[in-house]
Symmetry: C2
Subunit: 222 residues, 2 copies
């Protein structure tokens, strides 16, 4: 092992071999853009938070806007990995929808930066997201959901008029809104809606609503 | 009628008797806070947009933050009038839920400022909304929904385990998200989701999902 005094550079590299300067700037960007939004975050703030010279930011990302685009891509990549996992499971629609709702709630709960950055981005009229192939991110899951809904409809379990695009948007809406609007929602209910028990109640309500919502119903005898 | 030349002040008052200076500043505040957010909007911008001296803003609202609080209250008042109308209708749950969904979609479509200001406010951790009694805004509608759900459950039409708070949050989520995230959603679907035909399709999907979601189902015979 290299000693700190004799070889400080090598020691530093050995101690955190996986965190490159580029990743350090990216991580600072994610944190600051999420908190303050892309417009109110300055290059100096990112430089200070990453502990790296501002010229390093220009070297790796060209500009603040360039870094922001990479941050947005990194956020979509995280979400994408959830979608891809779900798309590959080849599950019956009931199971797939349960896992989508649980997966989205877990992901958004663990990734508050994703929620905030997507909110900022929409307030900016999606200016930078245009550079990202958003459709490609969701396409595999939409396809998987379409196939499993068709199978369920053929088996006579599900309504055959449920559009997979609409249904996935509904799953996204029912999960995203709970996090993006958490402050006004907590005030509305007079309690912190992100307490674990309330989060669980919410996931149960949404899962049941979606599953019952697509089942074929027989009217109860009068 | 007063002529313009002989009595310009009186004529001006007669021509727009309902727009006070206070309302003019409030309207400029709504427009600018919605577009740029409360932090990036300056007193000079509001003064220029309203055509009124910045001292007028301080006179009526004390500070930019004071104006922003009034803007947020004005937004909640608009939404409140939708909720109060719905709460007073005493409708069976099917009809009430249909009208909630249609009413929310119409309101949000016609009031993009509401969507944006609520998004900004949540990104600011609900700092200013704390001054508003958000719970009181939704309470009458939650109560009305609770009563009509109970009646439907007693009649054997609805599941008896549907919580009115959860269901209203779902209606809010399914409508709000469609507007707040319109840019990334449009990219996801590869089309402008706010085209009238797509908006109508969306309202139909959500209405059906919610209504089917609370109905009691009889399993289809195997």
């Amino acid at each position: 092992m290299a000693t700190k005094t004799s070889a400080p550079r090598a020691a530093k590299t050995q101690r955190s071999p996986r965190i490159s300067n580029r990743d350090r700037i990216l991580a600072a960007g994610i944190k600051l853009f999420a908190e303050h939004g892309p417009d109110a975050t300055s290059v100096s703030m990112i430089s200070e938070a990453s502990g790296l010279n501002r010229r390093m930011l220009y070297h790796y990302f060209g500009s603040k806007e360039g870094l922001y685009e990479e941050v947005l891509k990194a956020m979509y990549d995280r979400m994408n990995s959830v979608d891809v996992d779900l798309a590959h499971m080849l599950l019956p629609a009931e199971e797939l929808l349960k896992k989508i709702i649980q997966g989205y709630y877990r992901f958004l709960n663990e990734n508050p930066e994703f929620v905030r950055i997507l909110s900022w981005e929409n307030l900016r009229h999606g200016r930078t997201a245009k550079a990202i192939d958003v459709a490609a991110v969701k396409a595999p899951l939409i396809k998987a959901l379409g196939v499993s809904l068709q199978m369920g409809a053929r088996d006579g379990r599900f309504r055959s008029d449920v559009d997979e695009n609409q249904l996935l948007i509904s799953c996204m809406a029912l999960s995203f809104f709970f996090f993006s609007n958490q402050y006004t929602l907590s005030m509305l209910l007079g309690k912190d809606i992100h307490a674990p028990r309330l989060l669980e109640q919410r996931v149960n309500h949404v899962t049941q609503l979606i599953l019952e919502g697509i089942l074929i119903k027989q009217p109860t005898p009068a």
